[in-house]
């Protein structure tokens, strides 16, 4: 596999000067990242525990820039849990504990000096259920930029338009920016949530089953959109639909649950991680083959 690591386009201008995390465009500018690999995420021996329960363990992954990586696997295999490590959303769950090494562009995401709030300004997230705020369409998109301190009306107008265009929603809503986001259809709401994430000018977008509440037409629109925006962003998507993973992603990670060697509790593990075409055509692991051919799960 060849990766042209320098082809990454510059994503807007940094809205967060002075953060500990490097912006993508500055990665070669001598921020002295501890382990520069050209990867967006570099995960080594990751394990997540909720209290005494181990949700997932022994995960090793490298996420490449400007690709769509999908996480597939049966329920309870820990794929969403791993996804929520990347923007430290697991921090909000009491009792959650993350072990192992998780590097974002060379920076240890769980280092004590790294703030989860800042991480999330670089790594956006779209959730399973469309969750626009009960505010106007405009205010939904402007929420993130306003948090970052943007207050100029013209700047906000520009970024709202740019983000809505980026999420392929502008034409449908440009005449009703002031009306409620709750009046949009489910598919429109989900694209609004994508626009809301884009407005923060993130580097990575995490998607946790973004289409599972949508009909096939809305799903197709979101999938097209993902293909359009992957030139600018790195996308990781958790999906229950193998067809979706096969359609949209460059790489696929297959997780499953397994009885751990020392105990009798089941925990999620990463079985196989490879190019999507190879994963579906010629999986290396029997369990992957059983899953993708529908014999299990």
């Amino acid at each position: 596999m060849t990766q042209d690591l320098d082809s990454r386009p510059v994503v807007g201008t940094s809205a967060h000067p002075g953060t500990a995390l490097p912006r993508p465009q500055s990665q070669s500018a001598g921020d002295t990242p501890t382990r520069e690999s050209g990867m967006v995420f570099d995960v080594t021996d990751l394990a997540v525990h909720y209290g005494a329960f181990t949700a997932v363990r022994e995960v090793d992954l490298k996420i490449r820039p400007n690709e769509i990586t999908s996480f597939i696997g049966p329920s309870g295999c820990g794929k969403s849990t791993v996804l929520r490590c990347f923007n430290r959303m697991n921090d909000t769950i009491s009792g959650a504990r993350v072990e192992g090494d998780l590097r974002y562009r060379g920076v240890d995401l769980y280092a004590p000096s790294v703030s989860a709030t800042q991480v999330r300004k670089h790594i956006g997230m779209v959730f399973q259920k469309p969750n626009p705020f009960p505010k106007s369409i405009y205010d939904n998109v402007a929420y993130g930029p306003r948090l970052a301190g943007m207050s100029s009306r013209s700047d906000l107008d520009a970024i709202v338009e740019q983000s809505l265009r980026g999420a392929a929603l502008w034409e449908e809503v440009e005449n009703r920016l002031k009306s409620s986001a709750m009046g949009l259809s489910g598919g429109q709401q989900q694209r609004l949530c994508i626009a809301r994430a884009l407005a923060v000018q993130p580097d990575v977008i995490l998607m946790d089953e973004p289409c599972s509440a949508l009909d096939p037409i809305a799903t197709a629109r979101i999938e097209d959109l993902m293909q359009e925006i992957k030139t600018k962003y790195t996308i990781i998507i958790v999906t229950h639909s193998m067809q979706q993973a096969a359609r949209i992603s460059d790489r696929t990670a297959f997780f499953t649950t397994e009885v751990s060697s020392e105990g009798d509790r089941r925990a999620g593990v990463l079985v196989e991680y490879d190019r999507t075409d190879r994963m579906f055509a010629n999986p290396a692991d029997d369990r992957t083959e059983a899953y993708v051919t529908g014999r299990f799960g």
Binding site: N87, M89, T92, S94, T117, Q118, R120, K121, G124, M125, F127, K129, N131, P132, F133, P134, K135, S136, Y143, G144, L147, A148, K178, S179, S180, A181, M182, G183, C193, R196, A197, V200
Partner: protein
Amino acid sequence: MALTISDLRSKRQVGDRVFRSATLAGGAAILLILALIAYTITNKSTLIFRTAGLDFFTEKRWAPSADKPVFGALSFIFGTAVTATIAIVLAVPVSLGLALFTTQVAPKWLKKPLVALTDMVAVVPSVVFGLWGIIYLAPKLIGFFKNMHNWFGDWPILGSLFGKASAGRTFMTAGLILAVMITPIITSIAREVIETTPQTDCDGALALGATRWEMITGAVIPHSAGGTVGGVMLGLGRAMGETIAAALVIGSSPTITANLFSAGDSLPSVIAFQWGEATSAEKRSALIAMGLTLFVLTLLVNFAATAVVSRAMRRMQGAS
């Protein structure tokens, strides 16, 4: 065995019919009682309106035992408004802070005791609050009032609000007691409304890089504003109608003044204290008319609350 029509007939029909009649009867009884109350107190207060007219509402003096008795409700309406306002101003920030703290900030182990404690304040009988106000709070407050007057007496607006204090039983004392009494109800309503904020909304805010405080102001407060206003209005209604606690600490001396450290009186308090010695038909009618006034005022507050809540709900849905 052949199927007969009775096999298909719903067995619950009788139960349903009984239940429907019972609820209908209950609802009708409430409306009937409300109508009776409205009728009786309106009817009994016509005497004072016939003699005093609308002057009843604008007359400051209350001299029922004078040779030429004067019946004016204004100073009692004023006292009710002032004490309820003090109570709301003091109770709302405390209640909202407490509700946000219990739901958003407090660690799990502290949550239950906090909820239990606030609910316990709600079950203290109001006469106990009043007694505590008389024997403990009022004497302690005199010094505090004097200090406030010394510090702020020369300030433009505060100077007139924090005037000379002569006793511990004042508008401010009553307002304070009322504030303590309505804090639990506002807190528990606000808490329940805040807890209805969907976790997905909070996650959405956090995922955009919001801090916990930004999540509260951005996701939790917009979601719960309408219901919280409703809770505050409910508290206001309670503060206006509260009788015995206010009666014991307000000083029972009808006054209209900007000085919050002055003794005053309120509508429910004067009714409670003077009803027993109200021998003349006119005085009785005047007291009943004050009850009617209070009734109408609380109704207005409730209507206002409903209007505010539904408007807030509409705005929350973004229809503005």
